[in-house]
């Protein structure tokens, strides 16, 4: 569905993302893993042509046989939001502070040609309902909601027009683990219902192990390893992948360590 071919992103002479090729199939939960500064976010921004103006993308990104990088900005605008949508880490900043949640829903639907106000409101309430929020949220301002609620609203907004690809950039990083877990559950539920693909950017292995079906590992702007989840997790080829997997805390190792401690005492 989406295939990135030999994409490089440069700032002047410096390559920030180097010759990356990836392809995402329909219904994939594609995890993009790597430490900060490895170019994950830039890569995701390039897909929606959201890069800052001082960075140039080279190569090609094919979305359904069309090169995204060659589209006009009007064509790009119709794709953004309806076919491709984003959820970011900073839930506080994801909403314009002086507009209600409802106004956000209204505006985004209007921008994509939904001019029936009743339908708009119904869509919005359905979307909120699908992430476990009730009608009262519709009239609220962003600062009246908790972090977990806001992030759920962002997901509702992002999935409002049933996109083909959702780019989730560190969406649980700023949340506590319980809220984060709920967000992931809602996302998984919605994906099962509608079958969109997710590009899930993270540095946390736990959700990757649980939800992803394919994984790409990025380091210093390059994809060092990519493939099916089981393959990458069980038989990591690259030294960096091994290092990452070993660095991730797992429950059994923690338990083992504490048992040892208990024995020593």
């Amino acid at each position: 569905m989406l295939s990135i071919r030999q994409l490089s992103i440069r700032s002047g002479a410096k390559k920030l993302v180097d010759n990356v090729s990836l392809s995402i199939r329909e219904g994939d939960w594609y995890a993009l893993v790597g430490q900060s500064g490895s170019g994950k976010t830039l890569l995701s921004q390039a897909i929606g042509r959201m890069l800052p103006p001082n960075l140039q993308a080279e190569g090609s990104i094919f979305y359904k046989e069309r090169d995204v990088l060659a589209l006009s900005s009007e064509q790009m605008r119709t794709i953004r939001g309806s076919k491709l949508s984003y959820v970011f880490q900073d839930y506080q900043g994801s909403f314009t502070p002086f507009r209600t949640i409802g106004q956000h829903f209204e505006e985004y639907q209007k921008a994509h040609g939904c001019f029936d106000s009743r339908a708009r409101q119904r869509n919005a309430l359905d979307a909120l309902d699908s992430v476990g929020l009730d009608e009262s949220v519709y009239k609220r301002y962003p600062f009246q909601l908790s972090g977990g609620q806001l992030q759920r609203v962002s997901i509702a907004v992002a999935l409002l027009l049933s996109p083909d690809l959702l780019i989730a950039d560190e969406i649980t990083t700023a949340l506590d683990s319980v809220s984060g877990h709920r967000i992931m559950e809602f996302l998984a539920k919605r994906q099962k219902e509608t079958g969109f693909a997710i590009l899930f950017i993270t540095h946390d292995w736990r959700p990757v192990k649980r939800y992803a079906n394919r994984i790409a590992v990025m380091k210093e702007g390059q994809v060092v390893e990519a493939g099916e989840k089981e393959h990458v997790l069980d038989h990591p080829q690259h030294a960096y992948t091994k290092q990452l997997i070993n660095a991730a805390p797992t429950l059994d190792r923690v338990l083992a360590a504490s048992r040892e401690e208990a024995e020593i005492v």
Partner: protein
């Protein structure tokens, strides 16, 4: 997050100051508008039989050297001075805000070109521009307003740009873009309300300066032309009679001082209210 409410005084030590400033500005406004309805004299009608009279029931503040009623001229002068100041500021805002919005939002090449244009305008001091313009186009209040606009719009463009540069990095602008909103819509609906407060503060602080500028240029004869009643021009008219009738200079002078003081008070108050000290001071 502050509510989007009218900037009425908040509960603090200086609330009275804000309230006083608002009330007085309201009062000046009412007086200036109401003057239309209570005028008993033609402000430009000369009557040499009644020249340089003291206060009387007929002429509460007396008459000037041509026998015109001073109170009438003072009230209408307020309309002229404040009106043209507001006009100059409004035109500056209308040019400066979109300029700054586009420059800050687009960034890159557009921003660089726009800002070099702005720098070019910034190089002109207001006095020089006003004198040159009145030399080229003739003295008159219209040209004076033009000169003020040429000098003033840049500071609004720069203020708006700096705010927009910071704001447009935030995620809500990114999200609005990822949801397919057009740049025009993002600027109008998502960025403009952020900058409105800052711009309002700067504009109210500038109002006093512009009033002074208009009065000053009218005083030296480059602004309002006689017989237009304008405070600066009235000061100039009264100059030869300073020794015999000092009050004719004091009335318009006082009017200018009080109005400028009030707009500054209001500006200070708004600045505290919107808490944008650093942007305004730069």
């Amino acid at each position: 997050m502050k509510g989007w409410s009218l900037p009425w005084p908040k509960a603090n030590k200086r609330r009275w100051l804000g309230a006083v400033a608002w009330l007085c500005v309201l009062l000046v406004g009412i007086v200036a508008i109401y003057a239309f309805f209570v005028l008993r004299h033609d402000p430009t009608l000369t009557n040499l039989d009644h020249r340089l009279q003291g206060g009387s029931l007929q002429h509460p503040l007396g008459t000037d050297q041509l026998g015109r009623d001073v109170l009438t001229r003072l009230l209408l002068g307020g309309q002229q001075t404040i009106g043209y100041s507001l006009l100059a500021l409004t035109v500056s805002l209308v040019i400066g805000i979109p300029f700054g919005l586009i420059s800050g939002f687009r960034r890159g090449l557009v921003d660089r070109i726009f800002m070099r244009i702005a720098d070019g305008f910034l190089a002109f001091p207001d006095t020089i521009v006003a004198i040159v313009l009145s030399g080229l186009l003739g003295a008159g209040i219209g040209n004076l307003v033009l000169a003020i606009v040429i000098v003033k719009w840049v500071s609004y463009a720069r203020l708006v740009r700096s705010t927009v540069l910071a704001e447009s990095q935030k995620d809500y602008v990114l999200i609005a873009r990822t949801n397919g909103l057009s740049p025009g819509k993002i600027m109008r609906k998502h960025l403009f309300p952020h900058i409105a407060g800052h711009v309002l503060v700067l504009a109210s602080l500038d109002l006093g300066k512009v009033i002074l500028l208009i009065s000053a240029f009218s005083y030296i004869g480059l602004g309002a032309q006689p017989p237009t009643p304008e405070w600066g021009a009235m000061l100039n008219d009264a100059r030869p009679y300073f020794q015999s009738k000092p009050e004719f200079m004091i009335y318009p002078g006082l009017a200018i001082v009080v109005t400028v003081l009030l707009t500054n008070m209001l500006g200070d108050y708004l600045r505290d209210r919107f808490d944008v000290k650093k942007e305004v001071q730069s």
